[in-house]
């Protein structure tokens, strides 16, 4: 079983819908420990992505990811713009020339993506950032691969992992990004970027596996 290009397109569209719906929720999370714009940023960026991908549906998955990354880079702004932009631009490599991807590819894609984010943003585990979700997710995918799970099982496990990763940020003290200025006052709040990452991960699961 593989993930088809059409499902990747559905996924990106679904992200756009989710960020439109969760705009205020994400913004409120960011108001608590940041500057109250994360939902607005994600919503603006994925609206553009949604527009953009209609023009490149014929291309391969790598190109679609690269375009997504470039679009996010030039429309989101803030910290999350270059980070998510880099995520997709780096993720593109493992999708180059492909019309579908398997569990191996997916693992590579997300792992390259988060490596790109770290190269730019220098986050370490426990710094309370989006990376804390992606690392948990990649770890879960690796585990599924090692245990010989099928794609469906792997995606379900990945979704759960993303929830755990996001929830784990609640107890962390932020050491990167705007929330770090709050010091200990950042503890007790779920990180907005971790939350938007979780939403993206769960959206992929839902598109491929069907709503849980």
């Amino acid at each position: 079983m593989t993930i088809e290009k059409s499902q990747i397109l559905n996924w990106l569209n679904s992200c756009a819908d989710i960020f439109a719906k969760e705009r205020d929720y994400l913004t409120q999370l960011d108001a608590d420990i940041g500057d109250a714009d994360h939902g607005i940023n994600m919503n603006r960026g994925f609206e553009r992505v949604k527009d953009k991908i209609t023009t490149i549906e014929d291309q391969d998955i790598g190109t679609i990811f690269k375009t997504t990354g470039m679009t996010l880079l030039s429309s989101v702004g803030g910290a999350s713009g270059p980070l998510y932009g880099t995520f997709f631009i780096r993720a593109a490599a493992a999708g180059n020339g492909k019309q579908s991807i398997d569990l191996n590819d997916l693992c590579q894609i997300f792992s390259d993506g988060v490596d790109g984010v770290v190269a730019r943003g220098k986050a370490q585990p426990g710094d309370k950032t989006m990376c804390d979700v992606w690392w948990t997710v990649v770890e879960a995918l690796e585990k599924s691969k090692d245990e010989g799970q099928d794609l469906q099982q792997a995606l379900v496990a990945m979704g759960e992992a993303s929830e755990k990763g996001a929830a784990a940020t609640i107890e962390m003290q932020a050491k990167k990004g705007r929330a770090s200025y709050l010091g200990e006052r950042s503890i007790g709040h779920q990180d907005p970027g971790a939350t938007s990452s979780m939403m993206m991960v769960k959206a992929l699961r839902d598109v491929v596996v069907g709503q849980a």
Binding site: D37, L73, G77, P82
Partner: protein, 354 residues
């Protein structure tokens, strides 16, 4: 929320259109978004940018003797690399382009990308990080000190140097020096309301302030009791002058090698022999009369402790929408900096000697 706007999505565009209508010497490009002007002489192009909501920063400081251009992002959101990229192309007169970047993860990352793109196009480009907010104590457990109101002083001073014909390298060195000699500290009495969020970012009781607040509606370093302006200004004064040396690693663009190098650099100490340029800056919702009261306390405290105020500026220069409160910036200055400060400047928000 009640604001003098039409549409939450259009406010940055419309306020820039308003500025361009008022100052026809400023040119406004909407996609990607930037504002620039044509300097009288061929000079290093100085380019600033960052989230909107800090007006008159950044576009209000474009003009002879200060900035060449600015890239405003959405409200409190750093701009995107395509803005800096195109604006730099537009203003580069062959003498190179210097970016002024306030130290926020978002600004730093977006400007870095623009620097890399421009380098690829053979534009001579430099980038200066501004991190004057002493409310942030360390750089190990945080994203490092924020860039706040010292931006105004730095842009004025480097603007004068560029207008005098100083080179990109000279402007960079000057900017680094000013940044290491400047300290700011802010206090909020009431939060701002981000238009798209629709309600105040935090709520304070009548006897509380956010102490060590930034310029984005994020909460401050701590919540303190507020009694009167004298006590509060004395607390801010201590934060500014009793501030330990601060060392951090700042990334610099190596134009030769075309890569980022990390430079460990330490702030300058304050002393009683220098003159200081002081900015008492309103955060947007605080009236003049209260800022004058803040300046009085600060000036009296400086007198009492032997700090010598050489120049001052009181008003709204680096704001956070309608936030109530103020920040104070002290820049340790020598003859060179004072002369550059006094040099002619002609921008919408800062103007003298022309």
């Amino acid at each position: 929320m009640k604001k003098l706007i039409n549409n939450v999505d259009d406010i940055v565009k419309e306020q820039l259109e308003g500025m361009a209508l008022a100052h026809p010497e400023l040119k406004f490009n909407d996609e990607p978004r930037y504002v620039w002007h044509e300097p009288k002489q061929k000079q290093v192009a100085l380019l600033s940018g960052g989230g909107s909501g800090h007006e008159p920063l950044h576009a209000g400081f474009i003009g002879d003797g200060m900035l060449t251009g600015a890239c405003p992002g959405e409200v409190f959101t750093s701009p995107t690399p395509d803005q800096m990229y195109e604006c730099a192309q537009k203003v580069d007169a062959g003498e190179g382009v210097l970016f002024f970047v306030k130290n926020y993860t978002g600004d730093v990352l977006n400007f870095e990308t623009a620097v890399e793109l421009l380098h690829g196009d053979d534009v001579k480009v430099g980038s200066i990080i501004i991190d004057d907010d002493v409310a942030v104590k360390d750089s190990l457990y945080t994203a490092g000190r924020r860039g706040v109101a010292a931006t105004v002083l730095l842009e004025k001073i480097v603007g004068a140097a560029a207008a005098q014909g100083q080179s990109l390298e000279q402007c960079e060195a000057l900017a680094r020096r000013v940044n290491n000699q400047a300290r700011s500290f802010g206090v909020a009495l009431q939060a701002c309301t981000v238009p798209a969020a629709g309600k105040p970012s935090f709520v304070l009781a009548d006897n509380e302030v956010e102490f060590g607040v930034g310029i984005h509606g994020e909460p401050g370093i701590e919540r303190r009791e507020f009694t009167d302006v004298k006590t509060l200004v004395e607390q801010v004064f201590s934060e500014l002058v009793d501030c330990p040396d601060y060392s951090r690693t700042l990334r610099e663009w190596d134009r030769e090698k075309g890569e980022w190098t990390e430079l460990e650099t330490t702030t300058e100490r304050f002393d009683l022999d220098s003159e200081y340029i002081v900015l008492v800056n309103g955060l947007g919702g605080t009236p003049q009369c209260e800022l004058l009261g803040v300046y009085r306390e600060f000036a009296l405290k400086c007198k009492a402790t032997g700090y010598n105020i050489g120049r001052q500026l009181i008003g709204d220069y680096c704001t956070a929408l309608n936030m109530e409160g103020f920040s104070i910036t002290m820049l340790k200055a020598d003859k060179e900096l004072l002369e550059l400060w006094d040099a002619a400047v002609n921008t919408p928000a800062l103007r003298w000697k022309c």
